[in-house]
């Protein structure tokens, strides 16, 4: 029973992080209908930037964190401006190919810069974050992940529900021509969505890095794990992304705990195929409101 609960806690924590990184992915998809295969690389870039600043640059953690977020935002912005903007209005396959190319290029670059080794962050979380409930302990890393995750989720939830820019982003996702006719800066929305996506990717990259250590291959493959998450949640639903993330996180930790560790990485994809066959637009995908 303790083992079960422990796994559940771990699963929820990891899943929350998956959910956050999937949120960035969904954001790009919603705003510009671009499916971003380079999401894992954005995630890894954030984690490594943070790592470089803290471990090699010797910056204090909070400063490094803020700097990383800013840098990731700018990175996302630049990627959109340089690579995605020329493709606005081009067929789907070209956009998909472009992000696959981006992912390959970024991964190569990062491997050249940091190599394929596993690094660990210096331990900066206070021991007091470690929680105990009876027989279960939640290590500080997980508590930290939970806090950061919940905080940013709430933040983005509020952003989309109440802020003007958030509403504009949703309007562009909904009906681009109409948004354009009202003077919504559509290109700015695209750039903004890439910026925010890169930013949340960096957050999840850092948190995952705290949990597992950072390695280019590992982190960029997390980017692919976003797919089962968003498919489970529905490609266009941000809440769905979070719930899907938690489900996948639980699924993974339970498979890892009870079945086998090697199956752990594949099980989300098996579930993905099954979900696709049964409920093609995800569990929480938007019901298409169609009027003729």
């Amino acid at each position: 029973m303790e083992f079960f609960l422990q796994l559940m806690v771990n699963g929820v924590c990891i899943g929350l992080i998956y959910g956050i990184s999937a949120m960035g992915f969904v954001m790009i998809f919603k705003a510009s209908s671009v499916i971003n295969f380079a999401h894992g690389e954005l995630l890894a870039a954030g984690a490594f930037f943070f790592f470089t600043l803290t471990a090699w640059g010797g910056l204090p953690v909070y400063a490094a964190f803020i700097l990383t977020l800013a840098a990731s935002f700018i990175l996302g912005f630049i990627v959109e401006r340089l690579f995605l903007r020329p493709l606005i209005g081009e067929p789907l396959i070209e956009v998909i190919m472009l992000t696959i190319g981006l992912s390959s290029m970024f991964k190569g670059m990062m491997l050249l810069l940091w190599g394929g080794n596993l690094y660990t962050f210096p331990d900066f979380l206070p021991e007091s974050l470690s929680l105990r409930f009876g027989a279960i302990t939640i290590p500080p890393v997980y508590t930290g992940a939970l806090i950061i995750g919940a905080f940013f989720l709430a933040l983005f939830g509020l952003f989309f529900k109440y802020s003007s820019q958030g509403i504009f982003m949703r309007s562009v996702a909904d009906n681009q021509t109409a948004a354009l006719s009202l003077g919504v800066h559509v290109k700015r929305v695209f750039a903004l969505s890439w910026g925010i996506a890169a930013l949340v990717a960096a957050i999840s990259g850092i948190v995952l890095g705290i949990i597992n250590g950072i390695n280019v291959h590992e982190l960029s493959s997390i980017g692919l794990k976003v797919f089962p998450v968003v498919i489970l949640g529905g490609l266009d639903s941000i809440t769905g992304a979070v719930i899907g993330g938690i489900l996948i996180g639980l699924l993974e930790t339970f498979t890892g705990g009870y079945l086998s560790t090697s199956l752990k990485d594949v099980i989300p994809f098996i579930v993905l195929v099954i979900v696709l066959l049964i409920k093609p637009y995800g569990l929480f995908g938007l019901v298409e409101i169609e009027r003729v």
């Binding site: 190319g101 090697s262 199956l263 098996i270």
Partner: protein, 356 residues
């Protein structure tokens, strides 16, 4: 004898039969014949083993790339699992020839058939899914197959890999680069011939209709799902065939090469070569294989020069970087690929000096 035809200065087709012709002029037919003759009668005897090795790799890659182009370029279904299908073909050939002692002329086509069936299984989600969702389903296929190749140890012997018996055809041992050259290029010729003719038929037109607008295609009475599945089957058949040849050529198979990067490599071939062009797939295969070799030679050279002794230069990251860059540049600047560049060059010659 009828008069030989040349390219007219423009598009003057008056009948549908003319659109269907493989060679629009006798000149084209003649040059293709000469090309094939040189390929088989001269090339294998003048090139050294290294050149032959590269040619063989190009040949194998071309077969698989033609298959992928049928799926992506003609049917418009983006697959990210082609590398894994190649693996299925390679493993099937290996298992059939070791466990069941099949000769290679049976095992390679059977491997291709098995791969076609596997491909159809992963094509089933295409019933209800389009575009993005399907791409993601094939991505899942890639990972699941990769996992099975490593962990289904009873069948695939896990990370150990399988060593194949030497291939023999009609009692002759196919060994060495030159013999394989003939085997591979005859197969390539057959597959290209089939593909070109498949595209000209009802099936090919249905594929193209589905690519351009699947709803309209359905409205015109094309059973979309059946044709999508067929396209998946054909595409993975080609992948399986290429995989089988690869297994025999490489003598032993392990699961490592058949990863996502290989799938991306094949997509790169198709994009760079030219979507919706059979010849384009071959250009793409040539380009990527040469790029691969060039990068390998380049990094080797840098390593030997010992310019940065402390930096362990590794080919993999550079390869990924250059691949990514090549894909990006082609998508941004010439999304129709080398085939289009070639077409523009040709037509500007044809129309010279009045290029407009």
């Amino acid at each position: 004898m009828r008069r030989p035809t040349f390219h007219p200065c423009g598009n003057f087709k008056e009948r549908y039969e003319e659109e269907l012709k493989v060679f629009s002029t006798d000149f084209g037919r003649l040059w293709s014949a000469v090309g094939v003759a040189i390929l088989f009668a001269v090339v294998p005897f003048v090139s050294g083993p290294y050149t032959l090795y590269i040619l063989n790799m190009v040949g194998i890659a071309s077969i698989a790339a033609v298959g992928l182009n049928i799926l992506i370029g003609f049917t418009g279904q983006i697959s990210l699992g082609h590398g894994a299908f190649l693996g299925v073909g390679a493993y099937s050939a290996a298992i059939l020839s070791t466990n069941l002692n099949m000769p290679c002329w049976i095992s390679v086509p059977s491997a291709a058939l098995i791969t076609a069936i596997v491909g159809m299984i992963f094509g089933v989600p295409s019933v209800r899914l389009k575009g993005l969702y399907l791409t993601i389903a094939t991505l899942a296929g890639q990972f699941i197959i990769e996992y099975l190749l490593v962990h289904w140890e009873g069948l695939t012997r896990g990370t150990m890999g399988i060593t194949l018996p030497p291939a023999s055809l009609l009692g002759i041992d196919v060994a060495g680069d030159r013999n394989f050259f003939f085997l591979i290029y005859v197969s390539l010729g057959l597959t290209v011939w089939t593909a070109v003719n498949l595209i000209r038929t009802k099936f090919g037109r249905a594929f193209i209709a589905i690519r351009d607008n699947d709803r309209a295609a359905e409205g015109m009475g094309i059973p979309v799902f059946r044709y999508k599945l067929l396209s998946f089957a054909v595409s993975s058949f080609y992948a399986g065939f290429a995989g089988g040849l690869w297994a025999y050529y490489m003598v032993s198979v392990t699961s490592e090469p058949f990863n996502l990067l290989l799938s991306v490599e094949y997509i790169a071939m198709v994009i760079i070569g030219g979507l919706g062009s059979i010849a384009g797939s071959i250009y793409g295969a040539v380009f990527i294989t040469l790029l691969n070799e060039g990068l390998r030679l380049g990094t080797d050279l840098l390593m030997n020069m010992n310019l940065f002794p402390e930096v362990g230069l590794n080919i993999a990251p550079i390869r990924e970087l250059v691949f990514g860059l090549a894909i990006i540049l082609f998508v941004l600047f010439e999304p129709k690929g080398i085939a289009e560049v070639w077409r523009i060059i040709r037509s500007s010659f044809r129309l010279w000096p009045f290029s407009y």
